[in-house]
């Protein structure tokens, strides 16, 4: 960490896989006062690792090696109990950079959806991703965002699953049906679409891929008409880095691992 005029800058080192998957160079370059590359072989403040299976052990190792923070890009579902303990013991900040759940529009979407969820009649959500995407990975990314926005789902169950996607069923707390569909196709840019319908309107959310700063859209429809919430031209990657900075500066711990443990539990129960 270096300090210039009281501004803290944290040094960064990323594995090659994470560098590419997380567009780390771009994210760091877009926050130049807060982050910078670690020089030579010096120890860095922030370690960025890829979320391939086994990532929790890699993250725990980075913590033991002295990292002040760890960013995990696209984490695959796996147990994080040991990692959470290590992070707490060393006071290390671990944040997850997730395809859709890390989008900066999520908090507004969450507020909008949860304020209406007691009146929900249907939640319908579709995620699309390029051919070659593993449908299990797509589902994990999809579910992470849906649960983040809408809260826990009950009776989660795959109806079908294959190379072209999945069809999954669940219910909201009030018993309203939840329909979750994944579509693997190169026809459209990968994205997540979520619609909550109530008796007189609802909320629609579209979340783009983090490869560019395409803004998500959150629209709230009611008897008054339709309100487009302010668009945010920031990728999920950059929003993750800003969130990390806030935690580092404030000395607080994010709830990422706690949430991820619940997600992993849901997915494990499915299979």
């Amino acid at each position: 960490m270096s300090a210039t005029d009281g501004i803290k800058q944290y040094t960064v080192r990323a594995t090659p896989e994470a560098q590419e998957a997380g567009a780390v160079a771009l994210a760091v370059a877009s926050l130049p006062e807060s982050f910078g590359p670690a020089a030579g072989t010096n120890q860095s403040d922030v370690h960025v690792i890829s979320g391939q299976p086994g990532w929790a052990a890699d993250a725990a190792e980075a913590i033991t090696a002295g990292a002040r923070a760890v960013i995990v890009v696209n984490p695959a579902p796996e147990g994080v109990g040991t990692l959470a303990e290590a992070a707490a013991r060393h006071n290390t900040v671990v944040v997850l950079d997730q395809r859709w759940a890390s989008n900066p529009a999520i908090p507004a979407a969450e507020d909008a959806v949860r304020s209406m969820s007691g009146r929900a009649a249907l939640l319908d959500t579709v995620a699309t991703a390029a051919v070659g995407t593993d449908s299990g990975e797509l589902f994990a990314d999809h579910l992470a965002a849906v649960v983040r926005i809408a809260g826990p789902l009950a009776n989660l169950r795959h109806l079908s699953r294959g190379p072209h996607g999945y069809t999954t069923t669940a219910v909201l707390a009030n018993g309203a049906p939840v329909a979750i569909q994944g579509v693997v196709s190169n026809a459209r840019p990968a994205a997540l679409d979520l619609r909550l319908l109530t008796d007189d309107g609802g909320v629609s959310v579209t979340l783009p891929e983090p490869v560019a700063a395409w803004p998500a859209t959150v629209k709230v429809t009611g008897p008054h008409g339709e309100l487009l919430l302010p668009t945010i031209y920031e990728s999920a990657h950059r929003a993750t880095w800003r969130r990390l900075k806030r935690h580092l500066d404030a000395g607080t711990s994010p709830s990422d691992l706690h949430r991820f443990a619940a997600l992993t539990e849901s997915i494990t129960a499915l299979s």
Binding site: A121, L122, D124, V126, T128, V131, L159, S160, H164, G165, T167, T169, A176, P177, A179, Q181, V183, V184, S185, N186, A187, R188, P189, L197, T198, D199, D200, G201, G202, T221, P223, G225, E226
Partner: protein, 349 residues
């Protein structure tokens, strides 16, 4: 060409008469029949037509060349056959055109015997947006693996009132959603009354439609459904919700590995032009429409052409396959709900 309409309820008042009003140069309403004499008289007076309460009177009216059957579902088959036997030039039957495959086969046989062409009021198949998609979809019907139909609609009355001044609107009930029979009835009604609008479109993209199975069917309150279907080669999702929203959304989507089609339809009743068809192929997007008229007007244009002999009718097999596809889904939907209920009962026991 003279038109006679059997049944003068809200669909006739708010959909067909406004559509026909736009086609005055080729079609004129000559005769309105309804079992309620006051309704028949009032609706007929709007268009300067004869009115009656008898099917025989309408079918015997020489001014009627084309018959539209807009009566309750259970009368459709009998009335289509009677219209063919009466030697009319073309028949439009509101969907569903029969209640089972046997009735459908009888109708097809009578149509073939009499030479009277029949079309079913699946209005989206006549929508210029759909027709434009058809001309441009290349091999998508053969290569699609995922198909979605999504319908969100306000109560019909909202759009009926945009279209006309309705008389004799049917009274709504307050269903008991704790009764499994009510749920089964609502889902069957959802398939045969709402999903059926798009099932011919879905079938066009589902070569193995005869092997359709329902993975799960759920009711959406107050009226709607979530039905997940599968064939050996297709995943099909049907969603619908009719609530008190002002914002309609009616879309059909089909995805292959490399192309997707989305069609956004305009609401029924209002004369809001055609659907818009959007193809996406990676970073390339192609849009067709909107065009000036919707599928209802398209139906009437088609009928006029059939009656004039300038176009060929759809094959009877197409109509039968569309109907049996819908009936198969409706039956399997009800069976799925019954099995869910049985499982729930077993869990409580």
């Amino acid at each position: 060409m003279g038109v006679g309409i059997l049944g003068a309820g809200p669909v006739t008042q708010a959909i067909h008469l406004p559509s026909l009003a736009r086609l005055g140069e080729i079609l004129t309403v000559r005769h309105i029949m309804d079992v309620d004499p006051a309704v028949a008289e009032s609706v007929a007076a709007r268009v300067g037509a004869t009115h009656s309460t008898s099917i025989d009177a309408l079918l015997g009216d020489p001014a009627v060349d084309i018959v539209a059957i807009c009566s309750p579902h259970q009368f459709h088959a009998e009335q289509v056959i009677a219209a063919c036997r009466a030697g009319k030039k073309a028949v439009l039957c509101e969907k569903p055109f029969a209640m089972n495959a046997e009735e459908a086969a009888q109708i097809a046989a009578v149509s073939a015997e009499t030479g009277v062409p029949i079309i079913v009021g699946a209005m989206h198949t006549f929508d210029p947006g759909w027709l434009a998609a058809q001309e441009n979809w290349d091999d998508l019907p053969e290569t699609a693996h995922t198909i979605r139909s999504s319908i969100v609609l306000p109560p019909n009355a909202r759009f009926e009132d945009f279209a006309t001044e309705i008389i004799t609107r049917p009274a709504g009930g307050t269903p008991d959603y704790t009764d499994p029979e009510v749920i089964k009835g609502a889902l069957r009604g959802g398939v045969m009354g709402l999903a059926i609008h798009d099932l011919p479109l879905i079938r066009r993209f589902t070569p193995d439609f005869k092997d359709v199975e329902v993975l799960e069917a759920r009711h959406v309150r107050p009226f709607g459904y979530v039905i997940s279907l599968r064939t050996p080669t297709r995943t099909i999702e049907l969603r619908a919700a009719m609530n008190n929203t002002w914002k309609p959304e009616w879309s059909f989507e089909a995805f292959s590995d490399h192309a997707a089609l989305r069609i956004d339809f305009t609401p029924s009743y209002v004369q809001a032009g055609s659907a818009v068809a959007t193809f996406t192929r990676g970073s390339q997007t192609t849009v067709h429409g909107p065009f000036e008229h919707n599928g209802y007007e398209g139906e009437w244009r088609e009928l006029a052409a059939l009656a004039a002999g300038t176009k060929q009718p759809p094959s009877a097999q197409t109509l039968i396959d569309d109907l049996t596809f819908a009936l198969d889904i409706a039956d399997a939907t009800v069976a799925n709900v019954e099995s869910q209920h049985a499982v729930a009962e077993g869990a409580h026991a």
